[in-house]
Symmetry: C4
């Protein structure tokens, strides 16, 4: 069942330690088959070293397990909400990658200080608030997903143009058209988090990059007039 | 004698350089066999590269060597006090891991700024005071153990829920149900020390994570209602 | 066509990930054959892992592709301007290397705080301003090149003595007598950016190294009286 | 000639890149044969990758080359002065290791903030002043050696108890009873420089470790009453 997708999700999960984004089991990747409405996700708390494609868990968008001998990631309900609300998203990643999580712990969005950021994210990477006591105590992971979706709606952010979010005092979610692109965006989030951190130390009065430069770089790589790469 | 435990303690010691927690010989791991009351510990000042399971030293809880051709770690008396006072502890680790030791040198406890921390430690990782001149000059390492134990008692901290401590101007001790878990907690201590450091640079006015979020993550992984992983 | 140069440019590009200067495809190296006026450059958006010498693109100094099945780097027009203005330059590198780009994002030139810097760069590594809206919207990459050249002229900086520049809110360009030396200078730029960052944290009132020390180290390695190395 | 010593000096030099203390050729190690008064040193500007034991250069304490086809390190006259003044020293290392050099650039001695430092260095690692214009312009490297020796004399520091020095705006010299120990001390210098840097960020009002703790750790490893290790 969804063998091809399981393999891709497995490989995308394995990229997390390869890129230095996770310690132990602190991260997970999923990807969805939009036709069937089923998605494949990493099992909970399983080591990357011993994991196999067969360990991947198949879920539906009601959060029910459809196939798999292991429990899915405890963050599964957050993935569900992202897939349900963001229709263009094909893959979702959650990590506690070090610099990005430091921004999340600090409760700050990552400003766009340069073209490295603008090449991938249109504007700042937002940090959404902590959940309330009530939201935490009932359906915590699902409410995390609701909050992300609601905040993107409220801020009128296009999840395709801003494929990452920080959750205050928690960690990072990124997404993309598939699992591989979602991991790619997780790597970029960590890199821009690192450079933004250092940038503010070097110049505490630094301002975000001019809007026209952000536009230039974002649209150099995205949309009808993109001219970066071999497309 | 305790061949199985020697092998495990050896392997746990080898993990210290693997995880980047030690430079040269700056660290040691021990584990106890609660039935016999004997524990196995790394020999003092021996290189991780050349060490073998046979080099491990067997000690009793009076601090006497029971077996082994080499001297035990000079920190052995500290391990003894931890085993004597914290009955649930099966393994102890001492390191000078870089970020955690920077907090220890700074004389500050590591606040719980997020769920990475809360997943493993209930509340801040405490930094205990320096020993007095008298405590240093007589039985320094034993007094380090006494201080850790006394401070946990005074602060009414459960060593199972807070399996790590910083010693001011010195380094880190962590523990766990066995040597492997103690090393695991040493890795997590270093990771949360790193993120807390950066977090405070990003937002000097940052506050600890809300108590309800700390509770949620700690009890998601620990206790009767835990639902993380495959248990 | 220019097979030898393609191989050298390929190898120099491969050094970028080897030295930790690039993530994904965020960098490019070119080198020029001054006799023919043609230069060889990395193709745009191609992975370092799968790239071969044959993928290199041959360009002329009017920015026309002379040979190659792939599109050249989108930064090609910047390379063109550097080659046209700086006649001693044989190779050019562009990266978003982490510390140097943090300085670029912060909009600050890197002061010469020590002999590591002075051994390679005579005086500070300048950070040139952002392009204006007009400059960005028409021929962005070419205008980046014009700006670098104009600013070096205005500041009366010799590009041989200062083989690196930061572009505000963007990244780094370095150059040298060939592709290999240009990469070498990119490594040094990143190292001195890292040390200057930390140096200012350690002593916020730090001043640049005395001019006589800068002179000593620069001329120990460069010019008629150099005595470093085996020359 | 001194084949054994050449091999040891070669191996000690190779440790510099292995421990991450040097970029390119930015470092050198020497060791002395006190009986003959000759010392062996790395050749100038030669890559660690291609260097062989045969490339090592034999020098006397008047700074004359005794054997070797290559030029000795340009820092040779500094090594000479250290050997001449510090009779217990058998090996000398010079690096631009990143954190320690950041302290040198900042013009600050590294305070003893903890036992990691106290285990190896008795008190702060001093940063000596820049050379004057006159000292730089005549016999720069020799004057660097004179300054180090004079400052240790003036501060009444025992070079055996403080086997490292920072040279303002420049880099680091360390030494030891042989080349291997000198490299070991270079590694420790970098580690304590890193932790002292972070420590001051975590607590800007941090004070050095209490003298009695520094004494305890230093004398736990050194002198007649040492009990660390297997001696």
């Amino acid at each position: 069942m969804l063998e091809e997708l399981k393999k891709k999700v497995y490989e995308a999960n394995i990229l997390l330690p390869k890129y230095g984004l996770v310690t132990f089991t602190w991260g997970n990747v999923s990807a969805i088959d939009r036709e069937s409405g089923l998605f494949v996700i990493k099992p909970s708390g399983v080591d990357y070293d011993t994991m196999t494609p067969d360990d991947m868990v198949v879920m539906d968008l009601n959060g029910n397990k459809v196939e798999g001998k292991l429990n899915p990631s405890s963050d599964t309900p957050t993935h569900v909400e992202i897939y349900k609300a963001f229709k263009e998203v094909g893959g979702v990643v959650h990590t506690h990658s070090s610099y990005a999580t430091s921004w999340a712990q600090a409760g700050r969005s990552i400003p766009c200080y340069g073209t490295t950021h603008a090449d991938y994210f249109y504007g700042e990477i937002p940090c959404v608030r902590c959940l309330t006591k009530d939201e935490i105590e009932s359906a915590y992971e699902e409410n995390t997903g609701h909050l992300i979706v609601n905040e993107f709606n409220r801020m009128e952010k296009d999840p395709v143009a801003v494929p990452a979010v920080l959750c205050k005092n928690h960690g990072v979610f990124t997404w993309g058209k598939d699992a591989h692109e979602a991991v790619h965006n997780a790597v970029v989030t960590e890199e821009v988090a690192k450079m933004a951190y250092r940038c503010e130390v070097i110049n505490p009065d630094v301002k975000p990059a001019p809007q026209e430069l952000q536009d230039k770089h974002y649209y150099r790589k995205h949309g009808a007039n993109a001219y970066y790469g071999q497309k």
